[in-house]
Amino acid sequence: MTVKCLKGGRLIDPYNGIDEKKDLYFRNGKIVSDSEGKSTSDIENIDVQGKIIFPGLVDLRCHLNNDSVSAGNNILAASTEGSAGGYTTLLAMPDLGSIADNPATIEFIKDKISRNSKIRILLSGSLTKGSKGEVLAPLGSLKDAGVVAFTDCPLTAQNNQIFTKGSEYASMFNLPVIDLPRDLSLSRRGNAHNGPQSLKMGLGGYPRIAEELFVQRAISVSKIANTRIHLTSISSSSSVEMIRDAKLKGSLITADVTPHHLSLCEKSIKDFNPNFKTSPPLREESDRLKLVQGLLDGTIDCIATAHEPYPEHEKNVEFDLAPTGVIGLETALSVCYQTLNPQNGFSWLKLISAMSLNPSNILNIDQGRLNIGSDADIVIFDPDKNWIYSTNERSSNATNSSFEYKKFKGKIVTTFFKGSEVYCT
């Protein structure tokens, strides 16, 4: 079998602490050593001078939004958009049309994935039955069926007893609990942040405190239940501070932030465009700056997209009636590179850690590293390529991106999954 060699690129491999100009060899879907690569004459050299090479990205929060009719289509769409965004591993949230709270649903979706996906799509199981927050789901059976995390995202148990016991029970299976911190009693009809922009517009109802109270809950529960709780889609500046303090005290808590919360604030909703209606909502510039800082100082472990596709006719309605959520797989890396690159403390190692190695570590999977023998999940990024993102050029019917017609500098040009090219510009 031919050895492929990515020649002359800048290799970023946070697991091995590598950021240097280095060739990378792979064969038969696996990464091989330099000596093995060089020893064969059956070699295909790919010139990647001026390009950045790193392990395939891993997304911790991705919604497939399946209905039973289009399950295959949505999986194909997510994997197509994921591979175009450099993702080779996605973690699907349990809202799969029917809630993934039983092994049969997991098996059904796994079958759909194996037949439709170009990349690795992992599944999470719900923490409670129907994600209703009332009765625990059969976590042990779900683990046997192959889930790698437990979560009720985009919901979370409002009943503190259920959440605490669920987390405690989950600790037995050594899988993380992913929590989207949201107190519904403070945000039930919330459609935007309670900030100056939404106030003028007559919107609001999803204040920071609805997140912060549940961030504190997760920190406390993680401690008493000795469970790894991962907070997803953090949006408030005070949440960052609470997580930082908890980590200093040795908490097992981890956290992620979305590309849109790193790059946008509530002013984006000024034209009532539902493509800026996210969960949690976009907050103020002061929050955004704290999120960037939290990511760069390691308080926030990773970047997750919260990718959530909706057909145009469902999303493009009156703002308060529109569903929350935006798509983001294809733009995530370009958005983050553009936002973070000029910041003090930015490095490629940090960015790729946050988008690949750290989420793998949280899920306890082997991705996010370029070790000899690892799956050849590899991305080639051209930092100088200018491009304009448009959902018109995509195959799926979802158009709910916050970055429609946005100009970017820096683009993924090729994605390999297990050594096969799954995306190329």
Binding site: P196, L199, G202, L203, F272, V317, E318, D320
Partner: protein
Amino acid sequence: MEKSNWCRKSLLGIEELTNKEINQVLDLSKVFKNELSDVEKRSDHLKGKRIVNLFMEPSTRTRIAFEVAAKSLHADVISIAEQSSSLTKGETLRDTAMNIQALGADAIVLRHSSPGSPLFLSRIVDVPIINAGDGAHEHPSQALLDLYTLQEKLGSVKGKKITILGDILFSRVARSNFWALSKMGAEVTFAGPSTLVPKRFESMGAKVSHNLKESLSDADAVILLRIQHERQSSSHFPSLAEYTKIFGLNKNRSKWLKEGALILHPGPINRGVEIDSELADSSNSAILDQVSNGIAVRMAILYLCTNSTTS
């Protein structure tokens, strides 16, 4: 009437209007008010035009005022309420509006509970959209008629102190009035309970007060808002009785007002809740002026939007 140099096809809110545009509406309102008072002078500027009132929320006076305004200009008026439309059959606002356009409407007057819905519609259909209240966002015709009424009584509002009292958080009237009054140089205070008048309104440029006496004492006019206990659930204040006890305007408290200070209310009034019956009918009250001025102002809005230089 000569062609106007009004270039705004739709009236979506006051925030986006220039002072010149506001004055243009008010000047034309004066002309129409004059016409209304004299049958001889009445004219048929909108003859042959079809105005559709699309009211997706209950409304009596705004809907009727727009109807009377349109009919006074000899337009054909069709009123559609949510209960009688296909929206109850699951049709979206977008489809309803496109159908209305296809049926030959020359303007749509929209009342809807979703903030931003008039802007949403204006991007879908080609006909002018006139916002008759969108959620807690804006109610531009109400603000323009309030401004008209205040100017009629006070002369200019420049430098005048206007207090808007009541449920500010959920009020489109408060927001639109704030933009109209502050653009024209008035100093606006939002007053009421801390849950309905949060401090963050200061970010708009308004003063915020939770003290009734203080907020009344130097006001040249007070605009009272209807307290809608049914809308905010019970989480924002305990009861109507408690509201009345702390923030209700009664004969006794009216002594805190300056001599001749005006009282306005967009209606419908809850007599005995936000205002005493006696005060509502007193000489300080401009409430009925608001209603009659509302016709002239809406005539001006309909005329300008259907004759804008862009349409």
